[in-house]
Amino acid sequence: MTTRSDVELRVPADTAYVAVLRTTTAGLAARLDFTLDDIEDLRIAVGEACAMVLEQARADGDLHATFDLGSGELSVTVSADADAASEPDKDGFAWQVLTALTTRASAEVTPDAVGITLSMKSALLD
């Protein structure tokens, strides 16, 4: 809808920058009036998603993060360029963490990029 606004961030594909994305996520979620529980969950989920994406990322590449701000809903996509990317292991513990913490989690894999999208609806919506 027209009320949607987006935030984009590009950082080096390096674990040192994951904290920046986590903090940004928390800041945006706070703007959307998410509860502290939700904010902390999102923070963890984004860290986890970044770790999964970085596993496959090209060392000299970038880590992209886009944030879709809806009303009471926040979607985060983290993606990176990769060589011969493969689907994240959806039976693995990391994926289980993502799905437990968020409303929706999905992976987008192309031969040269890997991305994970997380969405969370504010607990206050119901």
Partner: protein, 264 residues
């Protein structure tokens, strides 16, 4: 500790000893050697008071010996400042100073990095407001609600939350330090819930990794991811702050990730 087994009679003697020593310590024209001797004796005599004060702060993650040490500094200050002519018991006079010294230690020591006092206070106000609001709302509050309660901006609250990551995590194992006096640790305060957790289906691949985790981390991880409890609920159940749960979860996930990597 020859003073430990003394009864009422012994306590009176302690007080009398103390008064006699202070009389000498503060008297005009007493030699430096005698003063030092009195001071040492006074410290010795009142060490049980320091132990008593320090014991109140066990289970908060700082070694008991360290608390004794800073408490003793408080005792020394009290001895140097005490005026026996005021007619106040020394123990009455010294207790607030000793406790104050221990509290100051916690305030300064609890932070992994130096955080401005303003942010330390913000963090404490956020913590207090969070638990109050969680009670009254029946759910975790939003940063805006916390900001309105404290009378600051949402940005201030977020800044305070970020800074709380610099607050060093006090271990849940703190307390029972193996000493004979070790009271129950925070870990002991965690209710047994293993029976319920047994029904949880844990994927075989990560089972060995989870088994290796310390009991408290395992408990929190299972409660969060396999029983679907929120961080606030876990915090309430275990009796620590939600921020603490968040930090422990983060750390545990990081450890798991590392060990998964190590095996790959």
């Amino acid at each position: 500790m020859e003073l430990e087994d003394t009864g009422v009679e012994g306590l009176l003697t302690t007080r009398e000893q103390s008064m006699a020593l202070f009389a000498d310590f503060t008297a005009e024209g007493v030699g430096e050697a005698r003063r030092t001797e009195c001071r040492d004796a006074l410290v010795h005599l009142h060490l049980p008071l320091v132990e008593h004060c320090a014991r109140r702060f066990r289970n908060r993650g700082e070694p008991y010996d360290d608390l004794l040490q800073v408490g003793t500094i408080g005792l020394l200050k009290s001895i140097d400042r005490f005026d026996p002519d005021r007619g106040v018991e020394f123990s009455t006079y010294a207790t607030p100073t000793i406790i104050g010294e221990i509290k100051r230690y916690f305030r300064d020591k609890g932070w992994a990095i130096r955080v401005p006092r303003r942010l330390q206070e913000m963090r404490m106000m956020i913590g207090a407001a969070t638990s109050e609001l969680s009670q009254s709302l029946g759910r975790s509050p939003t940063p805006r609600e916390i900001a309105e309660r404290i009378g600051v901006t949402v940005e201030d609250v977020m800044e305070g939350l970020e800074s709380s990551n610099a607050y060093s995590t006090l271990s849940l194992d703190a307390g029972g330090d193996g000493s004979d006096e070790g009271g129950p640790s925070m870990l002991d305060a965690i209710g047994e819930d293993d029976a319920a957790l047994e029904h949880v289906e844990i994927r075989e691949s990560i089972k060995p990794l989870i088994e290796q985790l310390p009991a408290r981390e395992k408990q929190i991880l299972l409660l969060r991811f396999f029983r679907g409890m929120t961080q606030s609920q876990i915090a309430a159940e275990i009796g620590v702050s939600q921020m603490h749960v968040s930090r422990l979860l983060n750390r545990t996930l990081e450890q798991l990730r590392e060990s998964l990597h190590g095996r790959a």
